[in-house]
C-alpha cells in the first residue's frame, strides 16, 4: 500500500470520526474509548508482527488507568497524567518484558495472562488502597492548564485521543518499516537466522514489548480520564481478550487496522446491546466468526484488498 493512500485514508477516517462525534454527542464518549483501545491494540500489533500474542495486555491498560486514578488528586493535569501513565506502564513493561521475552507462542501468551491476573487480584484485594471492585473515581483533570466545562472536556478528550492515535499510528508504521520492525518479522519467520546476523531476538522483542506497554499505558490513561471511574475489571482477562479480539477484527496488516477494529467493536457492541440487551455477546461472537471465516486479514485486509484491486485496474 502506498504511503499517500494510507495517509489519505487516515485523514478521511479522522474527519469522519469528528463529523460523527459532532452529529451525535453521545458518540464522542464511545469513539474516545474506541481510539484508546485502538492505541492499545497498536501495541499488540507490534508483538503480532513477531508472531507473539499477548493475552495479558490489559495489564498495561489497567496500570495506565490506575496511574491516572492515583495521581489525579495530586496532579490534576491531563498533559502531565498521560506521560506519567506512559512512563509507569513502560517501566512495568520493562520489568515484565525481561521475563516474558524469553518465551514464545503459547508460553508467551499465558505468562502475560498470568501476570495481568496478578495485577487484577492485587487491585481487588488491596482494598484499603484501591477500594476493591467498587473502583476509584477520577475527577476531571485540567487540560493544558484550563479547567474545562464537562461538555468541552469530553471534546478535549476526543481530540487528545485522536491526536495520540494519529501520532502512535504514524510511529508504529515507521517503526515497522525500520530495521527493528523488520527484525520483528524475522522472529516470526526464523529466529535463528536473526541470531546468525548478530541481532539479538530477545532485545528486539523487548524493545517492541516496552513500546507496546507504553501504548497500553497511554490507552489506559485515556480510558481512565474519559470514563472517570476505574475498576479492576480493566485488568481482568476478558479485557485482554477484548484487545486481541479487536486486533483480529481490525487485521494486523497495517496501522489503521486496530482503529478500524476498535471502532467496529465498540459500535457493534453498542448497537447489539441497544437492540438485543440479552444477546449482545452472541452478536459480537458471530461478527468475529464471520471475520475469521471470510476475511482472515480483518477489516483492514478487506479495505486494502479493495483499494489494491482498484489501483491494479487503474494502472
Amino acid at each position: 500500500m502506498r504511503r499517500g493512500t494510507e495517509a489519505t485514508l487516515a485523514l478521511l477516517a479522522a474527519a469522519g470520526l469528528l463529523a460523527a462525534a459532532w452529529a451525535a454527542p453521545w458518540l464522542k464518549f464511545v469513539l474516545t474509548i474506541a481510539l484508546a483501545k485502538g492505541i492499545a491494540v497498536l501495541g499488540i500489533l507490534l508483538l503480532l508482527r513477531a508472531g507473539q500474542v499477548s493475552f495479558g495486555h490489559a495489564l498495561f491498560l489497567a496500570s495506565g488507568a490506575y496511574a491516572v486514578a492515583f495521581l489525579a488528586p495530586a496532579a490534576p493535569e491531563a498533559l502531565l497524567l498521560l506521560p506519567a501513565a506512559a512512563l509507569l506502564a513502560g517501566l512495568l513493561g520493562l520489568v515484565v518484558g525481561l521475563f516474558v521475552v524469553r518465551y514464545r507462542d503459547i508460553f508467551f501468551g499465558m505468562l502475560n495472562l498470568a501476570i495481568s491476573m496478578v495485577l487484577y487480584s492485587l487491585l481487588e484485594k488491596l482494598y484499603e488502597l484501591t477500594r476493591g471492585t467498587d473502583g476509584i473515581r477520577v475527577e476531571p483533570p485540567r487540560v493544558a492548564g484550563f479547567a474545562l466545562t464537562l461538555e468541552t472536556y469530553v471534546w478535549a478528550m476526543l481530540v487528545l485521543a485522536l491526536v495520540l492515535a494519529v501520532g502512535f499510528g504514524a510511529f508504529v508504521r515507521a517503526y515497522l518499516g525500520s530495521p527493528m520492525g523488520q527484525a520483528l518479522a524475522g522472529i516470526k519467520t526464523r529466529e535463528t537466522r536473526l541470531e546468525f546476523m548478530g541481532v539479538s531476538a530477545r532485545r528486539v522483542l523487548l524493545a517492541a514489548y516496552v513500546l507496546s506497554a507504553v501504548m497500553g499505558g497511554v490507552a489506559g490513561a485515556i480510558v481512565g480520564m474519559t470514563t472517570r471511574h476505574v475498576t479492576p475489571l480493566l485488568a481482568y482477562w476478558t479485557s485482554s481478550g477484548e484487545l486481541v479480539f479487536i486486533a483480529i477484527l481490525g487485521g494486523a496488516g497495517g496501522a489503521l487496522g486496530p482503529f478500524l477494529g476498535a471502532a467496529a467493536y465498540e459500535l457493534v457492541r453498542v448497537y447489539a446491546a441497544a437492540s438485543f440487551a440479552d444477546a449482545w455477546q452472541a452478536i459480537l461472537g458471530t461478527v468475529l466468526l464471520l471475520v475469521i471465516l471470510f476475511a482472515p486479514g480483518g477489516l483492514w485486509g478487506v479495505i486494502s484488498g479493495l483499494l489494491g484491486r482498484r489501483a491494479g485496474r487503474a494502472a
Binding site: F29, L234, D278
Partner: protein, 441 residues
C-alpha cells in the same frame, strides 16, 4: 481518463459510508422536554448476564410487568412508559457509554442505575453532569451520599449500613451472650464493606467479642470446603456472612452437609433471594435478612391487598415468588410514579422538566407493597428492615423468617451528613433498649 474514475468512486464510497453511518446515528428524538412527550422512556441498567443476573433478570421481569400494568392503566400522567435495558456485566466503560447514549440520543427521561455498587459510583457523577434524574434502584454502597452531594440522584431503598446493622441488633437482642464470631464474605467491595460495618458496630455495642476467623474466598468460587473446615475447627458461636446468589447456595449446601449449622448460628443478611433455590436445604433457626422489609410473610404489610396482588401477578407470569430485587424495582417505579404525580400537580398539569422532576423527588413519600418510604434531603431512601429466624411454614416451600423484628429505618441509618463508620463508632449499647420486641409467630 483514468484519474476521474477513482475520484468519483471514492466520493461514491464516501457518500455510501456517510449514509450508512447516518442511519446508524439514529438522529435524536425526545428533545422537547417541557412538553408532554409521546412516550416516557426509562433507562434501566441491570445485570442480564454473569452471576449477578440472578438479581438482574427477576428485576427486569418486574419492570416489564409493572410497566405493562401502568400502560394498561393509562400510563404516567397519560403518557405511556417504555423501559430500555442495559447490561451491567461488560464493565464500566460500556455502562458509562450506554448511559450517555440513552440520555443524549434516546431522550430517556429517568435513569434507573445499577445493581453493582461500582456501577452506581460510576453513574451517579453522570447524573450530575447530564442533569438527569437517576434512581439508584438496588446498589447498596454507603459511599454514594456520604462522599458527595448528587442533586439528581435518589436511592429508593435502604443501603449497606442499615442492612448490616439491623441483623447485628437482632442478634444482640435475641442471642446476646455469644463470645466468638467468624466472618466468611466474598472477596470484593461488598464483602469488605459489610464486614467493616459489622465489626465497627459490634465493637461499639458489645466490646470483647473474639473474631476467630476472617475468611474472604473469591467471588464465584465453586467450593468452600477449606473455609468450612476452618469454621468447624474454630467453633465460633456466630458466623456472619453477606454471601449472595449462587455463592450463598453453594455455601449453605456444603455447610449443611457438614453440619456446620448445628454448631454455629449463622447471620445471613442477604439470604432471602436464595431461599427459593435452597428450599428445605436451608436449616431452620438462623438469622436471615432481605435488604429491606419485603418478606413474603410480612407480619403487617401496610396495604395487604397491594402486596398480595404484586406477589400473585408475579407468580402467575414468571412461576416463582418475587425476590428482593423485584421489590427494589417496584419501589423505584412506585417512586417514579409518585414523583411525576407530585411534579405534574405542582405545575398545574404541565409536564415537568428535569429540574422540576428532581425537585419532586426531594422529600418524596411513596408507597411500596409493604410500607411507605420517604426520601431524605440527601436523596437516601428510608426503608425499614425486617430480620427474623429461618423457619418453615405450610404456606411456602422454602424458609421464611419468624419472630421478626421491624427496625424503623431512621434508627439503623446513618444520619445525614455523617460517614457510616464514624457514626457506628458512636453507638451505645443502650440502643438495644430501643429495639422493638419480636413479633411472635
Amino acid at each position: 481518463m483514468s484519474t476521474p474514475t477513482p475520484l468519483t468512486r471514492r466520493s461514491a464510497l464516501a457518500v455510501a459510508a456517510g449514509a450508512v453511518s447516518g442511519s446508524l446515528l439514529w438522529p435524536g428524538s425526545g428533545r422537547a422536554q417541557a412538553q408532554k412527550p409521546a412516550e416516557l422512556k426509562v433507562g434501566i441498567t441491570t445485570f442480564l448476564s454473569g452471576p449477578a443476573s440472578v438479581f438482574g433478570v427477576p428485576a427486569k421481569q418486574t419492570a416489564e410487568m409493572l410497566f405493562d400494568e401502568i400502560n394498561q392503566a393509562g400510563g404516567i400522567g397519560g403518557v405511556p412508559v417504555r423501559a430500555l435495558f442495559v447490561d451491567e456485566a461488560p464493565g464500566t466503560d460500556h455502562l458509562v457509554g450506554e448511559f450517555r447514549r440513552l440520555v443524549q440520543n434516546e431522550g430517556v427521561q429517568v435513569m434507573f442505575a445499577s445493581i453493582s455498587s461500582g456501577s452506581c459510583l460510576a453513574c451517579t457523577p453522570l447524573s450530575d453532569e447530564l442533569r438527569k434524574t437517576t434512581i439508584l434502584w438496588d446498589c447498596g454502597t454507603q459511599r454514594i451520599f456520604e462522599e458527595g452531594r448528587h442533586p439528581f440522584a435518589f436511592r429508593t431503598q435502604g443501603y449497606a449500613t442499615p442492612e448490616v446493622l439491623a441483623p447485628l441488633l437482632y442478634l444482640l437482642k435475641t442471642k446476646p451472650d455469644f463470645r466468638t464470631l467468624a466472618v466468611i464474605n466474598q472477596d470484593y467491595a461488598w464483602g469488605r464493606d459489610s464486614w467493616e460495618i459489622w465489626k465497627t458496630a459490634m465493637d461499639a455495642l458489645k466490646p470483647g467479642v473474639r473474631v476467630v476467623a476472617e475468611l474472604f474466598p473469591r467471588l464465584g468460587a465453586p467450593d468452600f470446603s477449606t473455609e468450612i473446615t476452618r469454621l468447624l475447627a474454630a467453633r465460633p458461636d456466630v458466623i456472619f456472612s453477606t454471601f449472595w446468589g449462587g455463592d450463598l447456595v453453594t455455601l449453605v449446601r456444603q455447610a449443611a452437609e457438614r453440619r456446620l449449622f448445628e454448631r454455629s448460628t449463622f447471620v445471613l443478611p442477604v439470604a432471602e433471594a436464595s431461599m427459593q433455590i435452597l428450599g428445605r436445604t436451608m436449616p431452620a433457626g438462623h438469622i436471615i435478612g432481605t435488604r429491606g422489609d419485603h418478606w413474603n410473610n410480612h407480619p403487617r404489610p401496610k396495604d395487604p391487598a397491594r402486596l398480595a396482588r404484586f406477589v400473585e401477578n408475579y407468580r402467575r407470569r414468571f412461576n416463582e415468588y418475587p425476590i428482593y430485587p423485584c421489590h427494589h424495582m417496584y419501589q423505584a417505579i412506585s417512586a417514579m410514579q409518585a414523583a411525576y404525580a407530585k411534579a405534574i400537580a405542582a405545575k398545574g398539569g404541565g409536564w415537568p422538566n428535569d429540574q422540576e422532576l428532581a425537585a419532586a423527588f426531594r422529600g418524596l413519600e411513596f408507597p411500596t407493597p409493604t410500607s411507605t418510604i420517604t426520601l431524605r434531603e440527601d436523596g437516601q431512601g428510608l426503608e425499614d428492615q425486617i430480620v427474623g429466624v429461618s423457619t418453615f411454614t405450610e404456606r411456602f416451600p422454602f424458609a421464611v423468617p419468624k419472630d421478626m423484628i421491624v427496625f424503623p429505618a431512621a434508627m439503623v441509618s446513618t444520619p445525614v451528613g455523617q460517614k457510616s463508620v464514624d457514626w457506628l463508632k458512636t453507638l451505645k449499647p443502650d440502643l438495644l433498649a430501643q429495639v422493638p420486641a419480636p413479633i411472635a409467630g
